[in-house]
């Protein structure tokens, strides 16, 4: 599958010319597995461009709002991202098809939780395995936990694991005395997260937590 992605805007005489480039599924997967930056942004831009409209249409058609569609699409992207980061993403279909199936199942799960007309809802899509739903459930838990810990800890963990900052950068960012102090702070923050996660229901890949 190929996606057209806007990569830059350049002004030539008074005309703005959009340059495009083709991004393939494998390039997107590579970018999602890489560090934060231009490539990752281009990958998400491409997925928004190619997959968002159909998912939004589905959500709106099934009693959802635009805000819910936005949120759900991002959740589906997060699941794709986590599957790729885990090295557990198997490309049996295109990324568009995968995202659509995941978003659809997430939405059906939400609707069932709301207690709506569950019996009239269509069945779960076969493309999305139960692991996606577990990942989503754990994602909800981790977000709750991150909201409970102090801001510095949250920021530090994000900087370390997502922005991939070194301990030296963390030391400078948080005004810590040494790299060892940065390391210790990271351990303490991660410990807090682990303890809070354990107090909650943490799903495992071999069962669902419905």
């Amino acid at each position: 599958m190929h996606y057209v992605c806007d990569t830059s805007d350049r002004s030539i005489t008074k005309q703005r010319v959009r340059l495009s480039k083709i991004i393939t599924d494998s390039e997107i997967i590579e970018a999602l597995n890489g560090p934060k930056g231009k490539a990752l942004n281009q990958a998400t831009d491409a997925l928004y461009h190619s997959a968002f409209a159909s998912i939004k249409a589905y959500i709106l058609k099934n009693s959802g709002t635009e805000e819910e569609a936005d949120d759900l699409f991002q959740d589906a992207l997060v699941i794709l991202y986590m599957r790729i980061r885990k090295g557990a993403f198997e490309s049996k279909s295109s990324l568009n098809t995968y995202l659509y199936a995941v978003a659809k199942n997430l939405w059906l799960k939400q609707l069932r939780k709301k207690g709506g007309q569950a019996s009239s809802l269509p069945p779960f899509d076969e493309v999305a395995h139960p692991e996606e739903l577990v990942l989503q459930q754990n994602q909800v838990t981790i977000r709750q936990v991150l909201a409970l810990i102090d801001k510095d800890c949250r920021q530090l963990l994000m900087n370390f694991y997502f922005d991939r900052m070194s301990f030296k950068q963390i030391q400078a960012q948080f005004g810590l005395g040494s790299e060892a102090a940065a390391k210790n702070k990271k351990y303490r923050c991660l410990r807090k997260v682990v303890d809070l996660v354990k107090e909650r229901k943490w799903g495992r890949a071999d069962f669902t937590n419905d």
């Binding site: 934060k36 942004n41 998400t44 928004y48 635009e66 805000e67 936005d70 949120d71 991002q74 959740d75 992207l77 997060v78 699941i79 991202y81 986590m82 980061r85 885990k86 990942l135 754990n138 994602q139 838990t141 981790i142 977000r143 991150l146 963990l157 994000m158 694991y161 997502f162 922005d163 390391k183 351990y187 991660l190 410990r191 997260v193 682990v194 303890d195 996660v197 354990k198 943490w202």
Partner: protein
């Protein structure tokens, strides 16, 4: 399981710096327990990355009102702040109390004093005409029996030099007699 093991120890184990994992009581974990701890550790890290990725997506594509991009939000915020500042300044100015400049106005004196060149009164009038109010006020004040006109100009000179009490006194005196030519201005 992961809660029973030191996080730094897990990372050392993954980095190959230690060969076994022990729990908080010092017991060595079995291979099954080790596998479980490692799986849980990776799950936490992946979930943390996922949460950070979600924050990035929200910041980049927005969430609350469809596609609200950060830059657009910034422009909206800037426009709102500018509007608020303009509204505040407008309201503040319209509600502000009367200012000295709101009341002070130079009244041209049209008197000509032929043959009186060099007298205190003419000097005072010249100073007043040239809007040298401090000098004019001093000169008008030194007149022994100032006329209504002199009192009026003295009052205006006092007003121009922020001497409110002197201004009131001089203007009141100048306007006491209704027939005075400066009665209306003094009343004002």
């Amino acid at each position: 399981m992961i809660e029973r093991v030191d996080i730094s120890l897990i990372e050392k184990y993954l980095a190959g710096e230690v060969e076994q994992l022990v729990d908080e009581k010092g017991s060595v974990l079995t291979p099954t327990e080790v596998a479980q701890v490692i799986e849980e550790y990776h799950e936490v890290i992946i979930q943390l990355e996922g949460a950070a990725f979600k924050s990035e997506l929200e910041a980049r594509y927005g969430r609350e009102k469809g596609k609200t991009y950060p830059l657009k939000r910034l422009y909206t915020l800037a426009a709102a702040v500018i509007l608020l500042v303009i509204a505040f300044v407008f309201l503040w100015q319209s509600n502000a109390g009367p200012q000295f400049d709101d009341y002070f106005k130079h009244f041209a004196q049209l008197e000509t004093n032929r043959g009186e060149v060099g007298t205190t009164y003419t000097d005072a009038l010249v100073a007043y005409s040239r809007q040298r109010y401090e000098e004019a006020f001093v000169l008008f004040s030194s007149l022994e029996s100032p006329s209504n006109e002199a009192l009026f100009f003295m009052g205006v000179s006092a007003l121009a030099t922020n001497q409110a009490e002197a201004a009131i006194e001089a203007l009141q005196k100048s306007g006491l007699e209704k027939p005075s030519r400066y009665y209306q201005q003094a009343r004002w």
